[in-house]
Symmetry: C2
Subunit: 133 residues, 2 copies
DNA sequence: GCTTGACCTTCCAGCAGATGGAAGGTCCAT
DNA sequence: ATGGACCTTCCATCTGCTGGAAGGTCAAGC
């Protein structure tokens, strides 16, 4: 299986697959012509990576998850810990974005958005200590 | 005013302020000894940048907002457009994170998190097409 | 057998937005 | 004059790819 086939089957760009090899996430063999030759185990790993990345896990998380996946003697607690920490990161990010969203939507609503220079958005940005009503 | 004073007044690390000079967001004069000499206008700009960045605007957004801020003849519509587009970006990001959060919290809940290898999280990652109940 | 086009390879550069650290100059108080 | 807290520049690093150049390979069609 060449890289193009793996790309279309996993949805990962070929560039990304090469990058994953670079950083040691997969180690495909090579054909005589130098082409990467993926077997079904590698394909499976890459699908696993694609799914993990799509859930927002970092590359290092993915590396850890993949190692756990391949370790028949793993404790599910170890997997849960990784996922739980990631969930906490997501919650922090969500809170941050929601705070931004709240301020921004208030300001956007308050701005006339016409051809006059008067602008509550700029007023807020210029006065970091202003507290919206 | 030296960079350290500006850093403590704006909350921006000195490194970041130098970086902002590098990319042309501020242009402080220099003292005879080569030290950056910030006046109150530069201080104000940096506070504006700090606030804009804290609301998640990109550096290029900040550049545009700063230019609008300094343009007495601006139309508030132009400011509103930048903010509105940013709000839309935030909403897309929120939706993405909420989707991740939903899947992850479901999986974390389902995982026993004990010393046994059986793990619904890994099961999901390994089967990208699985649909949580 | 030759061309064409779709593959594949490596390598290097760049994105955002800083941040860390090394090596060295300056300023001020003691 | 010495120490420590400043300041300077420059270069490397982080995350996770992505783009592009320059070139090798393969299979189909003529």
């Amino acid at each position: 299986m060449n890289i193009g086939d793996v790309a279309s089957q996993t949805g990962l760009p070929a560039k990304t697959i090469r990058y994953y090899e670079d950083i040691g996430l997969v180690r495909p063999k090579r054909d005589g012509n130098g082409y990467r030759a993926f077997n079904s185990a590698e394909l499976h790993k890459l699908a696993f990576l694609a799914r993990s990345r799509s859930l927002g896990f970092t590359i290092e998380d993915c590396r850890a998850l993949l190692a756990l996946y391949e370790d028949r003697g793993r404790a599910s607690a170890d997997v849960k810990l990784v996922a739980h920490e990631h969930l906490a990161r997501i919650d922090r990010k969500l809170a941050e974005l929601e705070a931004m969203r709240s301020t921004l939507s208030y300001l956007v609503e308050k701005c006339h958005g016409d051809d006059r220079p008067d602008c509550p958005i700029l007023d807020d940005l210029a006065q970091p200590d202003a507290v919206p009503s």
